[in-house]
Amino acid sequence: MDWAGWAVFGLVATAALTATMIAAQLAGLTRLDLPLVLGTLVTGDPDRARVVGFFIHLVAGQGFALGYAAAFAVLHSATWWIGALFGGLHVAIALTVLLPLLPGAHPRMASLRAGPSSTAVLEPPGLFALNYGVQTPAVAVVVHVIYGVVLGLLLRAH
């Protein structure tokens, strides 16, 4: 497995994903803000949360990159389109499993069952994270495919 590539390019791919997502937010395409969502696990201040969340996101991205590197090694092939396919699989899991599960674990995210005593302020993402804007699934697909393509291009298969 390409350990050196994983160490370097995992960060590059996560940075590319994050940058594209921020660009999409600034363009008004989505309200999905992964650094904020992750950082509010730790603090309620949105500005501090973004900083903390950015580093959590980097670590998480590095973890996912390990899976990509291992998969490339198993397939003995690392190409941009295989990376893109993995990115598609990755986002499908994120939108249908990880984000919908988040309200159950996130201390500052309300669930759809929240009642009057709830002081959680972060809105639950809902199905396919559609609560964060109707274009959110499309943005999520694009940024994760970019993540996969970057890793497919930069990692070696062995």
Binding site: R113, A114, P116, S118, G133
Partner: protein, 600 residues
């Protein structure tokens, strides 16, 4: 078949809610409105505006009976209705369970209990759920004494103790014996398995919820004037606040008419930042900080996509409101058609909205809290929009379809800039931005005084060049642009009170019918509470108290208010109950509390 009966008067309906959705229940025990799984979902019982084919859920006496008592249990959301039947009494006690988080409970859980006193009473259960615009009938089956109705992703179950063989759409007779109440539990599941709750356990949950509501209301200042009415309004506001996002819905209904038999029927199951901001002020005024924080966080999140522009309204999740459309075949409330869903005001430019929102942020700061820097960025963005766009015509607070140069909008633009500048005293702001806001604020004041004031009437007017008055201008004394002692402020209050009077304590919002829409409308209830607030804040406390008392006499028997009222009959009109009216009531009471004890 469900017996054809006309819908009850609007004020006859009580509100049951769980802060995610709400039901309206008439004094005959019929729930004629309930959308699932949330306020803006599809109606499960829609008879209120959809007629008998839209479904209902009635639990009450088998034959017509006299209501001898109807009230909310003190400081709770539990409703009790008592009928006299053949010398006996039958009482329906009902509530929705609000606190279901962290426990294996359905998201929507409605509990209704019938109990008899003085002898056996013949009662009936009519359970006729129909889903959505086409009034879809369910696929129904009985599973071990539980009736389950399904429509694909949505399922509801009805459980009863003693067990009852209820068939959808058919009245089921039941005899209620003293000491042996009938408890019915309706559970709703949307995209998840049904969770059945034993009626006895569900009844205990109602008790737990009551204790929570009492604890919540216990925190409201004891010395607040008209406290019981204020508490009911605050409870109503909280019930209409969607807990998963903390966004207050304007009303839980669509298309209750402003003009019975007419076309002024709108969908209010969305969130207007303006109304919500007034609600924030109301909650902050009684020390309920959580609601204010929740709303500001929601607004920050919801407005993100279009910032710095502030849309006139959002869905509960901050999404764009669906386009307005009419439901074909829906007869409307007392033949008031069309019945609409969606809302066409979503794309309007409404300058006043910025003023309400920035003012809410200012009140939050004034209460000793600091805005997160992201919130302050958003507020700065709103102020920049006002500084840039205040000269443009807008739809105004009344959302008229033809934009104009509304004086109230300009005043609220002034308010946005003034309050943003006040917040900037404790938050970072560049000198250039400060100068730009100050310059725009001063320009607005100069222009409004020059073009928005009619010396002949000694009053500000509705729009530049018009002689019409506008009751929204009653916010004037609260702004601080003109002194509360000034002839302009006093003249405006008196002119509005006299010329927009609809009789008694009621006011029209503007001369009736002057909005380009067909038909007419009733008196606009929030305006009357704004008048109370204006009187109290200009030192006319006695008048304010008298007016407030008179307005309380116009509440529904359960202390609820719609948006409007027919001045001739006192009938409530428009969507119900209304967040804006209840928020205005609370603010009026707070203004009385804060006014000097001696009149000027």
């Amino acid at each position: 078949m469900t017996a054809p009966r006309p819908p009850a008067p609007i004020s006859d309906y009580g509100l049951l809610g769980d802060t995610r959705t709400a039901a309206l229940v008439a004094s005959d025990g019929a729930i004629d409105w309930l959308c699932v799984p949330r306020f803006d979902g599809e109606p499960l019982f829609g008879r209120l505006v959809g007629g008998p084919p839209a479904g209902t859920f009635r639990v009450g006496p088998a034959a017509a009976a006299t209501v001898v008592g109807r009230r909310y249990r003190r400081h709770t959301a539990t409703l009790e209705t008592t009928w006299a039947v053949d010398g006996c009494r039958l009482t329906l006690t009902e509530a929705m369970v609000a606190e279901v988080s962290g426990r294996l409970l359905p998201t929507t859980l409605l509990v209704r209990r019938l109990s008899a006193e003085g002898g056996a009473v013949d009662a009936a259960v009519e359970f006729d759920p129909r889903l959505g615009a086409p009034h879809r009938r369910p696929r129904a089956r009985h599973r071990g004494g539980i009736l389950v109705c399904e429509w694909g992703a949505l399922a509801v179950s009805l459980t009863g103790t003693p067990e009852l063989a209820v068939e959808p759409g058919r009245p089921t007779p039941v005899t209620v014996l003293p000491g042996r109440p009938l408890t019915l539990v309706l559970a709703v599941a949307y995209r998840e398995p049904l969770i059945h709750v034993e009626p006895a356990a569900a009844w205990d949950l109602v008790g737990e919820d009551e204790a929570r509501w009492r604890a919540w209301t216990a925190g409201i200042q004891e010395s607040l004037p008209f406290r019981e009415h204020v508490v009911r309004s605050l409870l109503t506001l909280r019930l209409l606040t969607y807990s998963p996002s903390q966004a207050p819905v304007a009303a839980p209904t669509t298309s209750l008419p402003e003009d019975p038999g007419g076309a002024r029927n709108w969908d209010y199951r969305y969130v207007w930042p303006r109304d919500a901001s007034i609600g924030v002020n109301a909650f902050l005024g009684v020390g309920k900080l959580d609601q204010a924080q929740g709303f500001l966080a929601w607004l920050l999140h919801a407005s993100r996509l279009e910032r710095p522009r502030l849309p006139a309204l959002f869905t509960l999740n901050g999404r764009h409101v669906p386009p307005e459309r009419e439901l074909p075949g829906w007869p409307g409330y007392h033949d008031s058609v069309p019945v609409r869903v969606g809302n066409g005001a979503a794309d309007q430019h409404q300058l006043d909205g910025y003023g309400w929102v920035v003012d809410a942020a200012w009140v939050f700061v004034q209460a000793g809290h600091r805005l997160y820097s992201e919130t302050w960025r958003a507020v700065r963005g709103f102020a920049d929009v006002v500084a840039r766009r205040w000269r443009e015509p807008d739809a105004g607070v009344w959302e008229v379809r033809e934009p104009g140069q509304h004086v109230h909008s300009k005043l609220m633009g002034w308010l946005a800039l003034d309050r943003a500048l006040r917040i900037a005293d404790t938050h970072r702001l560049s000198a250039r931005q400060r100068r730009r806001w100050q310059s725009a604020r001063d320009a607005i004041a100069a222009e409004v005084r020059a073009r928005g004031f009619d010396p002949a009437q000694a009053s500000y007017v509705r729009s530049y060049g018009s002689t019409d008055l506008d009751a929204a201008l009653l916010v004037l004394p609260l702004l601080g642009m003109d002194s509360t002692e000034s002839a302009r402020v006093q003249g405006t209050i008196d002119a509005i009170r006299e010329r927009l009077s609809a009789g008694g304590p009621l006011l029209y919002r503007y001369p009736p019918g002057r909005d380009g829409l067909p038909g007419t409308e009733g008196a606009f209830l929030p305006c009357s509470f704004w008048l109370v607030q204006a009187l109290a804040s200009t030192g006319r406390r006695v008048e304010a108290i008298e007016l407030f008392q008179a307005l309380l006499d116009h509440a529904s028997p359960l202390g609820l208010y719609a948006e409007e009222m027919d001045p001739a009959t006192g009938a409530h009109l428009g969507n119900y109950p209304q967040t804006l009216t209840h928020a205005a009531l609370v603010q009026a009471a707070l203004a009385i509390r804060d006014s000097p004890q001696v009149d000027r």
